[in-house]
């Protein structure tokens, strides 16, 4: 059984179009996010989150009224996992569980309400976690750039980083937008950031696999084949592997999203989006950037066999 054998798709030919499309989506996305505002989880803002389980689904308005009756201002009610589970989110305070429980008893006398979890984060820790998260993403990208530049070449490192930044931005935008629709609870909190960091690691996988093939093809290239053709060849050759791997990981993540329960849902969903954008960026953006860089700054003749190419450092494989 074989898929994608001997494909001859021209990936690099239309790279300018893809570049502009990506740039537009990114810019529009960032604007949209700025306009819509980012919803942070209590991890980064401080606050209290309580999850409750009823015996049957209850209208969120009734729940909100009950919570307000307990003397709590401005609660946010969200769904949590199954249809009879709900999340109540308020500003940081203590002893809320008892008050809310009592109010539930009064307002829903036939219900046996179960407290699933209570998370309280003081505002100071919230800010700290947020700063740490930013630093983590920043350092991860830098570390990877250094590693790829070391294993291949500076231009490749740069290309990988551009693709990564694209992935992070695009994933972030999609997360914020989907969160707004309310389909999945995707407030930005620690596990979302962890998922994004993992995406950073994974996305580079794809990119590196293609780079590795390019490097090999450059080393053993046939006479008269220009760089552009080599890149195309490399991507086509690795396509089968790319599709298979992405497929397996996507299905694995989909299982997590659908079956993994509410605690992991945000994490798995973020990774899912990230893997898809990561694959796209590895194919269309990373190598496109390297091509552009080599053409513009190293003045490599892309169409024909350029002796300067072999002068490029072929790192220890």
């Amino acid at each position: 059984m074989r898929f994608f054998h001997g494909t001859k798709i021209d990936f690099v030919g239309k790279r300018h179009i893809f570049f502009w499309v990506s740039l537009t989506i990114n810019v529009v996305g960032i604007l949209a996010v700025l306009l819509m505002g980012i919803e942070y989880g209590i991890d980064f803002e401080g606050g209290t989150e309580l999850a409750y389980q009823f015996s049957k689904p209850i209208h969120t308005d009734q729940i909100r009224k009950a919570v307000e009756n307990a003397g709590i201002k401005d609660p946010e009610i969200k769904s949590f996992g199954q249809s009879n589970q709900y999340l109540v989110r308020v500003k940081y305070a203590t002893d809320l569980d008892k008050k809310i429980h009592e109010s539930f008893k009064k307002n829903f006398p036939e219900e046996q309400v179960l407290t699933l979890k209570v998370d309280k984060i003081g505002p100071k820790i919230g800010i700290e976690l947020r700063n740490q998260a930013f630093l983590a993403v920043f350092f991860a990208i830098i570390a990877i750039m250094i590693y790829v530049a070391f294993r291949f070449e500076f231009s490749y490192g740069f290309g990988a980083v551009i693709a990564l930044i694209h992935d992070v931005i695009l994933t972030f935008v999609v997360i914020v937008v989907v969160n707004k629709t309310g389909l999945v609870n995707l407030e930005i909190n620690q596990s979302i950031v962890a998922a994004m960091l993992t995406v950073v690691g994974f996305s580079v996988n794809d990119t590196v696999i293609i780079f590795d093939r390019i490097r090999e093809n450059v080393k053993e290239k046939q006479k008269g084949v220009g760089y552009l053709k080599l890149v195309n060849l490399s991507i086509n050759e690795t396509l089968s592997r790319t599709i298979n791997t992405v497929l397996t990981v996507v299905i694995v993540l989909l299982t997590l999203v659908l079956l993994g329960g509410p605690v992991l849902q945000g994490f798995a969903f973020t990774m899912l989006i990230g893997i898809i954008t990561g694959t796209y960026s590895s194919i269309y953006i990373a190598s496109a950037f390297v091509i552009w860089y080599l053409g513009k700054f190293k003045k490599i003749n892309l169409e024909e066999d350029d002796p300067k190419l072999t002068g490029l450092k072929t790192a220890k494989a």
């Binding site: 999850a51 699933l116 630093l135 790829v148 962890a194 690691g201 996988n205 299982t255 329960g261 990774m271």
Partner: protein
């Protein structure tokens, strides 16, 4: 033959190691079930001596085994087990504040403290450094030095450096001491397998599995538990002091009024005065003559209407109107009567004072004013009772608290208490904590009680009076008791904190996560289900697409997961829900490695290589790509581990272990398996390529 044995060993040794590492987990759960059934039988048979003997035998035979197994087993994280995760911060600012000599504390000092506190909120720098920096900015220019506020040992010999040194030592030891005290408290409370870790220079992180009563836990963790025995000085000097405070405030108000300034802290508020019960207003008019029988009563409000007199009284006595005062003639024979402060003539005897909940805040505010503080003699302090007066609450539904004037220097502190036991007082069925002291404490206690028979000694915990009983006679043997707790649960908590000791510096909970056990079970279930499905799908896919090669990959992935879990157990790590996610991801990535290899092998086969050489080429050519891609993921795992907390770290850990295991199982073990099959004489190995290749 040698080569074959080598390959078999590569596969078998990790498996054996894994089984050994995971055995304690299995054993622990086995013994757990045994223990449960033994105890269940005991309760069913109503604890007959037979079943009790069985329990003893079990403990004897398996007790140690169980403990060892529990130490080495794979622990489940809080999100899977249910429990409480707490981050606490030691309030070093408070520690420094309290280290200062209290009489010297002034506005300048308070300003430095406030600035320090605000800054400490936003940075992780050592609090002492922040304090010293702020001291330099705000206090030194005004001519103050550390010597103004602190002392260090010998009065003659004190220098600023010595003070800094002492403060530093206190701060460091405070955190360590806090950790130990909290560990002891948790231990005595009975939490099984807690985790207590220091973080940075002022935080402690706790993981408390299986906690069901979070409120109790919070109290347990945050109580400073400073126990003191103070002499009660509710005497005529006290009331004279209150009168002086009244006069000071009233005069000040009059002066300010003349200048047109209104001071809301002391202006009598009509609503406040009306909440004070009728007893008070009657006392003003009718009883003023009644109480001061022997004194020369010149009633300053003579001839005024009741209302007018009340108004004037409140204006003249802005402090004492906030509470009620009672007088008992000496000797304990006479009746206790309410008094007022209309006339500055107070008889010798016993006094008691009762505050109301509504006036509590104003009361404290007045006493905290620096200009009032100087009026209060150094040797005393004013402390209120912890529990509201029951009778008042039952009869009038009003919360009121007695307060006491105490000798500031305690006669005895909690350090001499060696034992505590919560129980019920047989005479009145109230909860009580019986305490025992060490030899030194017992001696001193005997002396103190001997010198103060028929006087009161207050038992003060964390600056609140729990009881102030009258000493009936000299107490030898060092026994004493605390009453005044609301219920037996409070008494139990008190027992624990007394035994574990007091915290030198107050601690505060800044982060708290509680996972109910049902969510934990749900999470385990969904985690396992998701893993199962993921695994199943991957296995099917690999079999269908890569045929026998896929089988090899599947077996390797299985060994991979077993290795990850056993390494986690070996590292004494905990398995959290994100950790399970990490394992699931590892499955995906492990398969990726094999996909790379097999795709390459297929390519080489299509290019015309022989089977053996295609396999060789496949593994070697794919190697660089596999290593690069796994290393980059490993780097992100490392960063996640260092920047993340709790569950995120669990994820990063399983991811990193998984990557290393992948490099081993998917490359080395897979290869060993394939070559084993070939060595046993197979001429064809299917990687999904057609049986006969048309080159």
């Amino acid at each position: 033959m040698k080569k074959l044995i080598g390959k078999i060993l590569i596969i078998v040794i990790p498996l054996i190691a894994a089984v050994i590492l995971l055995y304690p987990t299995y054993r622990a759960s086995q013994l757990d079930n045994m223990k449960k059934s033994v105890y269940e039988m005991a309760t069913k048979e109503k604890n007959t001596t037979d079943s009790l003997a069985r329990i003893e035998k079990f403990e004897e035979k398996y007790g140690k085994d169980f403990e060892n197994a529990k130490l080495q087993r794979l622990k489940l994280g809080l999100d899977l087990r249910g429990g409480m995760y707490v981050t606490m911060e030691v309030d070093i600012v408070k520690l420094i504040e309290e280290s200062a000599i209290s009489e010297t504390v002034d506005d300048i000092f308070n300003e430095v403290i406030e600035k320090t506190r605000a800054e400490a909120k936003n940075t992780d720098k050592p609090v002492l450094d922040i304090f010293l920096a702020n001291f330099k900015i705000y206090a030194r220019p005004k001519g103050k030095s550390l010597l103004t506020y602190f002392e260090a040992g010998n009065m003659m010999d004190v220098t600023e450096d010595k003070i800094i040194e002492k403060l530093k030592k206190n701060a460091e030891s405070a955190i360590d001491q806090a950790k130990e005290v909290i560990r002891s408290r948790i231990d005595k409370y009975g939490i099984a397998e807690p985790t207590i870790q220091k973080q940075g220079n002022r935080r402690i992180i706790l993981e408390l599995p299986g906690v069901s009563n979070e409120e109790e836990m919070r109290k347990l963790l945050q109580t400073t538990a400073r126990l003191e025995f103070n002499l009660v000085r509710n005497n005529v000097d006290a009331v004279k002091l209150f009168y002086r405070i009244d006069k000071f405030l009233a005069d000040q108000a009059k002066r300010k009024k003349a200048l047109g300034i209104v001071d809301t802290t002391i202006v009598a508020n009509n609503t406040e005065s009306s909440t004070i019960t009728n007893e008070d207003s009657t006392a003003v008019t009718a009883d003023s003559a009644n109480v001061q029988k022997t004194s020369d009563t010149t009633d300053p409000y003579a001839g005024l209407s009741k209302e007018e007199a009340s108004k004037r009284y409140y204006a003249d006595h802005p402090f004492t109107m906030l509470f009620e005062s009672f007088y008992t003639p000496p000797g304990g024979e006479g009746k206790t009567q309410p008094i007022n402060y209309a006339v500055n003539q107070f008889p010798v005897g016993d006094y008691s004072f009762m505050l109301y909940e509504q006036t509590l805040e104003k009361f404290n505010r007045i006493l905290n004013r620096p200009d009032i503080k100087v009026l209060i003699p150094r040797e005393i302090k004013i402390v209120r009772e912890a529990k509201a007066d029951e009778r008042m609450q039952k009869q009038n539904q009003i919360k009121s608290y007695y307060f006491y004037v105490l000798k500031r220097e305690p006669e005895l502190t909690g350090e001499v208490v060696t034992d505590a036991r919560a129980t019920f007082d047989q005479t009145n069925n109230q909860p009580v904590v019986m305490m025992g002291m060490n030899a030194d404490g017992a001696d001193r206690w005997a002396k103190i009680t001997g010198e103060n028979v028929k006087k009161r000694i207050a038992i003060v915990l964390d600056d609140q009076v729990y009881s102030a009983p009258v000493v009936q006679n000299k107490i030898t043997g060092g026994s004493s008791q605390i009453t005044g707790m609301a219920n037996i649960e409070e008494a139990n908590l008190l027992e624990i904190v007394l035994k574990a000791g007091a915290l030198k510096a107050p601690v505060q909970i800044i982060e708290e996560r509680v996972v109910g056990p049902s969510l934990g079970e749900d999470s385990i279930r969904s985690g396992l289900m998701a893993s199962g499905f993921a695994f199943l799908f991957v296995i099917l896919f690999m079999l269908v697409y890569y045929s026998k090669g896929g089988m090899v990959a599947n077996l390797s992935v299985l060994i991979n997961v077993i290795i990850v879990v056993s390494v986690l157990a070996a590292f004494k790590g905990t398995l959290t829900l994100p950790g399970i996610a990490g394992i699931i991801l590892t499955i995906g990535m492990a398969v990726d490695a094999n996909v790379l290899i097999f795709e390459r092998i297929r390519e080489e086969l299509y290019r015309g290589r022989s089977l053996k050489s295609a396999i060789d080429e496949g593994f070697s050519k794919a190697m660089s790509a596999i290593i690069d891609s796994n290393v980059t993921t490993f780097i992100t795992g490392l960063i996640l581990y260092f920047f993340g907390t709790g569950p995120i770290q669990g994820f990063a850990l399983t991811l990193m272990i998984g990557i290393i295991a992948t490099l081993f199982t998917q490359i080395i073990v897979s290869r060993a398996m394939i070559e084993m099959v070939l060595a046993l004489g197979a001429t064809h190995f299917s990687f999904g390529q057609p049986k006969e290749l048309k080159i």
